[in-house]
């Protein structure tokens, strides 16, 4: 048996080496100066033609590495920052920005076209470690059919949600495991202040808010307005989701309805901004810079909305007709300074957990 083992050991060893060699010769990150690697979360999506245009114009081939959900992707990027998996990271949002910056995830680079970024999205102006790429709002969505059937006016503001006529109607996500869940809590903290938000949540809890762990459950299983929810005979007509969810309900329907079955309570929104940056220790900084430049071009910014269901940050970039038609943009969404989020996030999530889940 011993000699057999040795033979097999050698064979397996050779096999693994060959396999991994095959794998890495074409895919190696950083080593190849003609390939630029983008690390992102799994909501990343872009049209093929747009990538092709970048590859043709810049001469770099793009490789994309999706690294789990938003929080996971950031954490993994931080863990591997000494020897990063790629050159550019896309997808750190304002709720996690400080974690990335405090850990020196990015190096300084100001991409071409930065001057065209709408001023309200600019951050880190002295160091230029991150560049805003897109923005989106976390808002309460409602099921239009439910409210017309019950002859009830849909809620429009945070204040409305604690009114008795909306008792037991809202489902939201666990703020400690879900980013829309966290965004909604931050929205209430921005609205009611450091002292008032806990009181608001006590009332929301008394008014029968239901909490589930993730967006998929909340939206596809509990929310009566979504395609999945209808099939699951869901019974909550209010859900914390995105401002872009109503257009998605139209675009991803066959046949397409004339109006969206859902809409947004425009006074319940919290604005998320997503950033990209050149990773510290990137293997291909030239390619990385070219890619960041490209992400601010009109081509890329115009393509983004219908792929990732977010809004562009570049002046003059086109917001698709579907967005304006099926989902009006939030009125004056709540925002919060990333530094303030950083200081309070963990404490707030902790007190929210003991307040709402216990």
């Amino acid at each position: 048996m011993r000699t057999t083992n040795k033979y097999i050991a050698v064979a397996v060893g050779l096999g693994l080496v060959t396999l991994s060699a095959c794998g890495s010769s074409s895919d190696s990150a950083g080593g190849d100066s003609k390939t630029v690697t983008l690390v992102s979360h799994d909501s990343w999506a872009v049209s093929k033609s747009v990538i092709a245009e970048f590859e043709k114009k810049s001469g770099f081939k793009v490789k994309v590495l999706e690294d789990g959900d938003a929080g996971q992707a950031v954490d993994k990027a931080i863990l591997t920052k000494d020897n990063p998996q790629g050159d550019v990271f896309f997808g750190v949002d304002n709720t996690l920005l400080s974690r990335a910056l405090d850990n020196d995830l990015f190096q300084s680079y100001e991409p071409k076209g930065s001057d065209l970024i709408l001023p309200e999205y600019r951050v880190d102006q002295d160091k230029h470690r991150v560049t805003p790429i897109d923005t989106g709002d976390i808002c309460v969505n409602y099921d239009k059919a439910y409210f017309s059937k019950h002859k009830l006016t849909p809620p429009t503001s945070f204040d409305d949600l604690i009114k008795p006529q909306y008792k037991n109607l809202l489902v939201t996500e666990n703020a400690s495991t879900s980013s829309p869940g966290l965004g909604f809590v931050l929205g209430t903290a921005a609205q009611y202040g450091d002292d008032g938000w806990q009181d608001y949540w006590k009332k929301l809890k008394a008014n029968g808010v239901k909490v589930v762990d993730g967006w998929e459950q909340a939206y596809n299983e509990e929310f009566s307005g979504s395609a999945g929810g209808k099939k699951a005979k869901a019974d909550r007509p209010l859900v914390v989701s995105y401002a872009s969810s109503p257009p998605a309900e139209v675009i991803y329907a066959d046949p397409k309805p004339a109006t969206a079955p859902t809409a947004v309570a425009t006074g319940t929104c919290f604005r998320q901004v997503e950033y990209a940056g050149l990773l510290s220790n990137a293997g291909n900084t030239e390619g990385g810079k070219a890619l960041l430049d490209f992400m601010l071009t009109k081509t890329f910014q115009d393509d983004m909305p219908l792929n990732m269901f977010v809004y562009p940050v570049r002046e003059g970039a086109q917001v698709p007709e579907e967005f304006t038609k099926y989902g009006p943009q939030a009125e004056d969404p709540e925002t919060m300074d990333p530094a303030k989020i950083a200081d309070n996030r963990d404490d707030w999530v902790k007190s929210w957990t003991s307040l709402v889940l216990k």
Partner: protein, 533 residues
């Protein structure tokens, strides 16, 4: 022995140790006091308590429901048996996010049970327990039933002839032979439910949290690596203790079994009692396993002209760079490679563990091989990232990482399935062959292989199926141009819109069918070769 040890050292022990060190070795000093800080928190103690008792309850319930099933599948012959046995294995390999969706349709609000009797179990612990039965039914049926079918019924008959009552004959002949398999199955179920993640997260809601969920939360959401490291160590110790206990009980019960062809032992049920048992088992299978799956299928056809399936063919919409349908090919390729790795590594380990002169060290390795099942995917995944990042082992960007991670979970299945059978091979046969001049390789080929071929195929099937549905580790490494089926499903479910939801259901249905076909082929393979036994 050298190969499995090296494999586990490089692809398991080293990455896990690296991530633990990252959490506990801060500023050049070990922060061991953190362990007490963490354990002292009442939240954490609550998590520990819930993890343990729900795992015990789930295991007991699974054995209760599945042992009669194992008996029926092993000893009875009925039309559609092979198809059914393949189908009951499907839940085991489906990604939990899909199963959660399907299961809610059964026990959730507006679900079937709700409409019939007003029974709703969502966000209760019952939903978790039932889903655990759903997932692990096949573990018991295949592990226990596989051996049961091969036990020579004549031994029991002989006991009867000598005057033993049916109960006594069963207790003294069949039960002792079966006990290691039952223990192995119970152990696996306990491990899976102790480390349960998706089921608890989806069906239990935020009120319930297992150790595994908490490790994920601390690592991925809060980025508190030191708390995560402490929890990982606690899980490690708990799982290790159970495994050690298990290894000890198995060794005490080892005996050379007389194995026969399973097709000889199965016969048509006789008498009201046996028919009743068969009907009861079939009913439980239909309600607990087939109904949730049927709901998935029904939802996938909920668009005119197979709309959701047609949508899978196009890459429009930009969710993927490739048409979602390509995920099937990717998944199959990964699973085949993972199965080969798992069978080679697991087979070698099992062979080494069976040797008479296996020392204490080797026997201890038996339990160690099972550890990957008890360590969270997020820990292993993060470990891979920071440990396997330098040449010659910079595998982070290589596709081989996916099958490697999947094989890590497959190996324990191979070992667990092979070991009882290999141990049951009479060592004197090998010795006789050796005395007659056969080389070790030839002894293995001519003595062991024919006797363990069936177990080997079961093992390979399990490894393949596990790889096909594996999600936790795959999602760390899968790429948009190479999504696997479960990753594609999760991505589609993560977006609003009817077409995305429908495509997710359609892909889940395809995954289900692919698994069922793969397992059916395996069943066929088994029956073709049984003549060689």
């Amino acid at each position: 022995m050298a190969v499995p040890v090296a494999f586990f050292a490089v692809f398991f022990a080293y990455p896990v140790a690296a991530i633990l060190a990252r959490g506990l070795h801060v500023d050049g000093a070990w922060q061991l006091a953190r362990i007490w800080d963490v354990v002292a928190q009442s939240d954490i103690r609550h998590v520990l308590w819930f993890t343990t008792w729900q795992a015990l309850a789930s295991t007991a319930l699974t054995l209760l429901v599945a042992l009669p099933g194992a008996y029926v599948f092993a000893r009875f012959d009925f039309p559609g048996k092979h198809v059914l046995r393949a189908i009951v294995t499907v839940p085991f390999v489906l990604p939990t996010v899909v199963v959660g969706t399907a299961f809610l349709a059964l026990v959730g609000r507006g679900g079937l049970l709700d409409e019939l009797w007003g029974v709703r179990l969502d966000t209760t612990v019952w939903a978790i327990l039932l889903a655990h039965v759903f997932f692990n039914y096949a573990v018991v049926v295949r592990t226990v039933g596989g051996l049961w079918g091969q036990l020579d019924p004549r031994q029991e008959e002989a006991a009867r002839m000598l005057g033993a009552s049916p109960l006594k004959a069963w207790r003294q002949v069949t039960l002792p032979a079966l006990a290691p398999a039952v223990a192995a199955a119970a152990l696996m179920v306990f491990l899976f439910t102790f480390t349960s993640f998706g089921v608890v997260q989806i069906l239990g809601g935020p009120g319930f949290s297992t150790l595994e969920v908490e490790i994920y939360r601390q690592t991925s959401e809060i980025f508190d690596l030191s708390t995560a490291a402490v929890l990982t160590i606690i899980q490690f110790v708990a799982v290790g203790a159970i495994l050690a206990l298990h290894a000890w009980t198995v060794r005490r019960r080892e005996s050379a079994l007389r194995l026969v062809d399973a097709s000889v032992t199965a016969r048509r049920p006789r008498g009201a009692g046996q028919w009743g048992l068969l009907a009861g088992v079939l009913a439980s299978v239909v309600v607990l396993l087939l109904l949730p799956l049927a709901v998935l299928v029904q939802r996938s056809f909920d668009a005119p002209d197979f709309g959701y399936y047609r949508a899978l063919m196009s890459s429009d919409g930009g969710v993927f760079l490739v048409a979602p349908i390509e995920a099937i090919g990717n998944s199959l390729q990964y699973a085949v490679v993972a199965t080969v790795i798992a069978v080679v590594i697991g087979g070698l380990a099992a062979a080494a563990l069976t040797r008479r002169d296996a020392g204490r060290f080797v026997r201890g390795f038996d339990a160690l091989l099972m550890l990957p099942l008890g360590v969270s995917a997020v820990t292993v995944g993060f470990g891979f990232l920071i440990a396997l990042d330098e040449p010659p082992l910079d595998l982070r960007a290589s596709w081989i990482l996916v099958p490697l991670a999947q094989a890590l979970v497959g190996v324990p299945f191979v070992v667990r399935t092979m070991l009882p059978v290999l141990r049951a091979v009479d060592a004197r046969l090998r010795e006789a062959a050796a005395v007659l001049g056969a080389s070790p390789w030839r002894v293995w080929r001519e003595v062991d292989l024919p006797m363990v071929r069936r177990a080997l195929l079961i093992a390979a099937g399990f490894a393949f199926a596990v790889s096909l549905g594996e999600f936790g580790a795959t999602v760390f490494i899968a790429r948009p141009d190479n999504p696997t089926l479960p990753v594609a499903v999760a991505k589609l479910l993560g977006r609003a819109g009817e077409l995305n939801y429908g495509q997710a259901m359609a892909l889940s249905t395809i995954l289900m069918v692919v698994c069922a076909v793969a397992l059916l082929v395996l069943e066929r393979l088994r029956t073709d070769r049984t003549g060689e036994f």
